[in-house]
């Protein structure tokens, strides 16, 4: 009956962070997934892929829940559209992880020994880019406390710059991996070449979405 309690809606900021934690659950499975893939342990690849499916689905449910709690009439300290796009970008990371897992699980592939180093380096860069984004997302509650401005916003802006640098490094690693793969093209069948290109692209996508998540948060900040 109290008007005062009805006046307060559900804050989206803690749930946004919780959603990102769920996304991290997907991304954390990439390393073991890649390891199983390198070891050509196809059973394990399928098993980890299932786990990623489950975590991605859970992230989806959380995304839905956050959207339900942000009806049109609600007034927020930042634009509702920005929050929804930020959520979408976080979710895209989980989607990209899932797509990558699918690529690794649909075809039994041999990993050329010469390619392993480049692949490791690419995966590392992508995951490092994600970890930086995770750090940025975990600042969102403090950003809400400081109303998305001031010294805290500056700190987060600097963190977002770091994601950009890492994403650029991931791009270079992606190119190096592709170059390496084509240097071995004589030993590879055309289908494998196609698969490798897709795998590289999906890893690159993941880093792109990590960067976009940061950019979308950047839009909410003001000096």
């Amino acid at each position: 009956m109290s008007i005062i309690s009805k006046l307060f809606g559900k804050s989206p900021f803690e749930p946004l962070y919780q959603h990102m934690c769920k996304v991290k659950k997907c991304v954390d499975l990439i390393k073991p997934l890649m390891q199983a893939f390198f070891d050509e342990d196809f059973e394990k690849v399928t098993e980890i892929t299932k786990k990623i499916f489950k975590a991605e689905h859970e992230a989806d449910l959380m995304k839905k829940e956050i959207r339900i709690n942000l009806p049109k009439g609600i007034f927020l300290p930042v634009a509702r559209g920005d929050i929804l796009r930020f959520l979408k970008e976080q979710d895209n990371i989980a989607d990209a992880t899932e797509d990558l897992a699918v690529l690794l699980a649909i075809r039994r592939m041999k990993v050329p020994t010469e390619l392993k180093e480049e692949l490791h380096s690419l995966v590392d860069d992508v995951i490092e880019a994600f970890d930086l984004t995770m750090k940025v997302s975990s600042e969102i509650k403090i950003l809400a406390e400081t109303s998305f401005g001031g010294a805290e916003a500056h700190k987060v802006m600097e963190m977002i710059e770091k994601i950009k640098i890492k994403e650029w490094e991931a791009d270079k690693a992606q190119m190096r991996a592709a170059q390496k793969m084509f240097s071995l093209e004589d030993q590879l069948d055309p289908v494998s070449v196609m698969m490798w290109m897709n795998i590289f692209r999906e890893l690159g996508n993941l880093a792109n979405h990590a960067e976009n998540t940061g950019d979308q948060l950047r839009i909410m900040l003001h000096e």
Binding site: F8, S11, E152
Partner: protein, 412 residues
């Protein structure tokens, strides 16, 4: 005067019942933000509400009570029929109490302020007619209902912006809190003292002119500043998250504004319960309606105690349900909102304007929200408030009219 005595007993009883009701329901609304932020436990909030409501009622409560007693319906129209005036005032307080009870039962967010105004206007219209009503004052009252939440909202908007830019946005927020905090303490003390002592203590036969009152208030404000500086100076910075430390420092400030708010609430809302009773007492005291006597302090005290009892005995339960629902407010936000509410309601009280503390509080929270302080605000509530007061005035007026005819039939 047999009839008069019965009416007085009835009026006091209904007035007390009404005061208890207001205390039980409003305390949850006015203390909810303090409890939600963790600045006060429910028990402490209820105790503060009880004590400061009584103080506000006794020290500043007479202004609004006078508006309800003689401002809206001119007693001069009842010179020849003082009994009708008493029936009417009894009907007004009983009708509004009845309506508020029904509305509460129906889960409608109504304000006792709107109900009592409806009740007084209702009997005025049927007993004498539209000419009995002082429409200018009615106009001011309605205007104050619109202006007070907006005015309060602007104050809270500005205060939260100051906190946001000066403290939360700074790279050393704790240091800034310690610097700014004492000013807030000083201002609260200054405003409170000025409201009490400037033309406010007629009941205690202490009526200070403006200049003296301002000087004394300034001194009290300065004392508040010094005490605030000493207390905040004692705080030792920790290595943890600076913003949670800012909130920790703001917590006592919010307790201070919670006291201030309870005081303002008592000053304004006691009138809803005892205004009509005061009118009846005045008639009985002098056997005529026009004599201008001040509201007896025992009546203000009784109303204040009624508020306190309601707050203490039933406020707890209501508060628990409200406090559970609010999850996203911190002391810096609570302070900004409550300070605006307290100043606005107190100002309206001194001007004799009966306003709804709850509606002003809503305006203040929206003000903080517009300044970027609230994580999610459900603005659809504004519509509900509007309906509630559009409905309340005629509904309570209707009950008052019915009871007026009933009392006239019973007693004469």
């Amino acid at each position: 005067m047999e009839t008069g005595l019965i009416i007085l007993i009835l009026a006091v009883a209904i007035g007390l019942y009404s005061a208890i009701n207001i205390g039980a329901n409003d305390v949850a609304n006015s203390m909810a933000t303090s409890v939600a932020s963790g600045a006060l436990t429910i028990k402490r909030a209820v105790m503060i509400a009880a004590v400061f409501d009584v103080l506000g009622a006794v020290l500043v409560g007479a202004h609004v009570a006078n508006t309800i007693r003689k401002g809206l319906v001119d007693p001069a129209h009842f010179v020849d029929s003082p009994n009708l005036f008493m029936f009417g005032m009894l009907a007004a307080v009983a009708g509004s109490a009845l309506w508020v009870n029904i509305a509460t039962f129906l889960h409608l967010p109504v304000s006792t302020t709107h109900a009592i105004i409806g009740g007084v206007l209702g009997f005025g219209l049927v007993s004498v007619g539209a000419s009995a009503i002082n429409w200018t004052i009615v106009g001011y009252v309605v205007l104050s209902w619109i202006i007070s939440p907006v005015f309060g909202g602007v104050i809270s908007f500005v205060i939260f912006n100051i906190i946001k830019n000066y403290i939360l946005g700074s790279s050393e927020p704790i240091k800034k809190t310690r610097r700014l905090g004492p000013y807030f303490v000083g201002i609260v003390f200054f405003v409170l003292t000025l409201a009490i002592i400037y033309k406010g203590l007629k009941n205690l036969h202490l009526d200070l002119p403006f200049l003296e009152a301002t000087l004394i208030s300034l001194l009290v404000g300065l004392a508040g500043f010094v005490v605030g500086s000493v207390l905040m100076g004692r705080y030792k910075e920790k290595d943890t998250d600076p913003y949670s430390q800012v909130e920790q420092l703001a917590s006592p400030l919010q307790v201070l504004t919670a006291c201030f708010k309870a005081f303002s609430h008592g000053a304004n809302d006691v009138a809803n319960a005892i205004g009509p009773v005061a009118a009846i007492v005045a008639v009985l005291h002098t056997s005529q309606v026009t004599q201008d006597i001040s509201i007896p302090i025992w009546l203000l005290l009784a109303g204040g105690v009624g508020l306190a009892v309601g707050a203490y005995v039933w406020g707890r339960g209501v508060m628990e349900t409200v406090g559970e629902k609010i999850t996203v407010i911190t002391p810096t936000r609570g302070f900004s909102a409550e300070f605006g509410t307290a100043v606005t309601v107190l100002l309206c009280s001194r001007l004799g304007m009966p306003v709804s503390t709850t509606h002003v509080a809503v305006g203040n929270i929206i003000g903080v929200g517009l300044a970027g302080g609230i994580s999610a605000l459900n603005l659809a509530v504004i519509k509900k408030i509007f309906y509630a007061w559009v409905l309340s005035v005629p509904a309570a007026g209707g009950f008052s009219v019915g009871l007026y005819f009933l009392f006239r039939l019973l007693f004469s």
